[in-house]
Symmetry: C2
Subunit: 407 residues, 2 copies
């Protein structure tokens, strides 16, 4: 009942025909999909969701295709976990973690790619190319495999081994680029026309954000249709942050939530914080961050293709942009794992550290309800946490089974 | 409405009081939990399941505690994926993969440990010890962390790095043992009384199997309450196989399915196939398999504590035990990933290879409906698949972004 009505540039406002194969706007801005929410309102009832499947396709009327047209691996409807023990330690009783590591391919990128690949298939594209810091490529490779389409992946050479391996295992053709995500993006832009590739990179094809917005629908539904006071999001390109914000607007148009919005918190690594810098300067756009480095591979994005949209949301929501050091994000990831049993990606750990920091500074208060996004599983790059846990050699006593306890 | 009524030894039939802290039977057999299914029948209706949460606690009346007593990370209700492209390639249209890699901690062991840890907590135990090939330890560590209990892990020294790292990250005290799972089990048995450890190893405390049986409930529910013709299971200790078989019996007692049973297929590695050997010899018990070796860490179990139960189920179901070489299980894992987008553990790959083998031999037929268990995510040991995908050095042409395509 809710097929896309419009495609509009999120930067310049230019309109494109819906379902068109446009890859970004001529101005370089991202295309955003519009639906007829006034018409959906009243016809689509949140009370009926209980009978829908326990995956993101439960929100099909707000997605660009029907569940039976989708290439699906069962993505979405991940648990929103109450993390009371962590909350007690960082000083906020009402703390939740949305555990996106339980998605197929181990990250929230599965939501975006089920949607984007399904649309690409429906539109008749056969060769799908992506520039990625890792997880989006892993998800694209999996969904392209399931769809019987070709995947062409460009990633920085030092991408985590799990990402490299999952892409290759799914049959993708992988090129490791001596450079960062922006170099990968440029290569695809240059070569896509000649090679016949459809560009699945962030903010190129418009449907990834549509899939990712289901995180926002789920948070609201899982909280009983109320909106938390803050959502803490690890911001690489920022597609998920934009997606969640759009979801909340759509939910209000549907009459399922009111006008309240969470403070949107964008978390970046100290070694790569273009959004933080721009936010501090009250700028409308970010500047390229030179020498980007962080153990959180997904946060190594020196400039987002949608930086202006991300910044606009931070300002509008009275949110914040927070830098976290590598060391703190690992510490906080271990805090989350050891108190709650959630083994998060370093980016997820960064959000825990950021929430703690903002509670200490008073920007967030102990009375507030806070949702932390863990965008992926720690299993996608255990090497980061492994640095804290050297494997000890086997001493005589250790052979007896740990008479001396190795910590 | 369905608390445990009885604890009975699966080997000698001896009874124990329900909720007792017995760790296995005095005869060495595993304890099995009984419920009052005749009384549940009619009162618990499968039609009402639609309103239950999308996790394994939807089957609470057949579990030993209430959902609100559980230490949960949202485990269970994993997708049962129709794998038509793989089916076409191995010659069976009606093929499904139950993707247990989407559980918390990336494996089906989350189901067992949510239940076992919750019961241990309820019973007042504080120190939980486990002997494990890796995934059960990862799950125990996570749930113990969430419960605020101590986890003491014994694993073979060459356990996959993801397992080591997830246990350490969750705060478990880990001892890497110069030996195999049996050596770990023995150390705990010897030291548990003195140390005050509750033994969470397979077939010691009785509630792991209770959690794992929800896989069987889910397969039946997801297939619309019919039973497939075969279930293909990677058999290490075999707890999951026993659990699924028990689930089907319970479902029949509830009147939700009939008397039909699937052929139960136990898949082992060529380098460690005690159950296969015993099955071929029509034996009631297995012999210790010397020199056990396989890339599938979870299948490196030279002798199961419940071998007689596993064998009994294979005979009773007119099933089969199948060995698969390491090379074939990797091949089949890549076949699954590249055709369906499911990045499985080597053990999951072994099941694909076994199904293919049994279709070729005629033991399984193309008209049958087959369910393959992928017990864990490939992300839990990508090193196994990595051997097939060396990272190439960066040549001049590769720097341009793959003008020569590295395959």
């Amino acid at each position: 009942m809710g097929h896309p009505l419009s495609l509009t540039c999120g930067r310049c406002g230019r309109d494109f025909p819906p379902d068109s194969a446009a890859v970004g706007c001529v101005c370089g801005g991202p295309l955003l999909v519009g639906y007829d929410f006034p018409n959906l309102r009243g016809r689509w009832k949140k009370e009926n969701l209980a009978a829908e499947p326990a995956n993101m396709w439960r929100y099909a009327p707000a997605l660009p295709l029907e569940p039976d047209e989708s290439v699906t691996l069962g993505e979405g409807w991940t648990p929103l976990l109450r993390t009371a023990r962590l909350g007690a330690q960082i000083g906020v009783p009402n703390l939740w973690v949305k555990d996106e590591g339980q998605n197929p391919t181990g990250s929230f990128e599965a939501r975006g790619q089920t949607c984007a690949v399904s649309m690409a298939k429906k539109s008749g594209f056969h060769k799908l190319a992506i520039a990625s810091t890792g997880n989006a490529a892993g998800a694209l490779s999996a969904y392209a495999a399931a769809a019987g389409l070709e995947a062409r992946v460009f990633m920085p050479r030092d991408v985590p081994q799990a990402n490299f391996c999952e892409c290759k295992s799914a049959g993708a053709v992988v090129t490791l680029v001596d450079g960062l995500i922006g170099d990968c993006t440029r290569i695809i832009s240059e070569r896509a026309p000649g090679e016949g590739w459809y560009d699945m990179s962030a903010f190129k094809e418009p449907y990834r954000v549509e899939g990712e917005k289901t995180i926002g629908y789920e948070i609201a539904e899982q909280l009983g249709w109320h909106v938390p006071d803050a959502i803490v999001y690890p911001c690489g390109a920022g597609a998920g942050l934009i997606a969640i914000w759009r979801a909340l607007s759509e939910l209000e148009q549907l009459g399922w939530i009111g006008a309240k919005r969470p403070k949107m918190i964008a978390v970046q690594a100290e070694g790569c914080q273009p959004i933080v810098r721009a936010f501090e300067q009250h700028a409308r756009e970010s500047a390229f961050w030179p020498g980007a480095h962080t153990v959180a591979s997904g946060l190594r994005v020196p400039q987002s293709g949608a930086d202006s949209l991300v910044l606009q949301i931070l300002y509008e929501s009275q949110g914040m942009a927070v830098p976290v050091s590598d060391s703190h994000m690992i510490d906080a990831g271990l805090q989350l794992a050891s108190l709650e049993g959630i083994f998060a990606s370093p980016a997820g750990g960064a959000c825990v550290a950021a929430a703690h920091k903002l509670l200490q500074s008073g920007f967030l208060s102990p009375q507030e309800e806070i949702v932390i996004l863990n965008t992926g599983s720690g299993l996608k790059d255990p090497a980061v946490f492994s640095t804290r846990f050297p494997r000890l050699g086997s001493g005589e006593q250790d052979k007896l089974g740990g008479l001396i306890t190795p910590r």
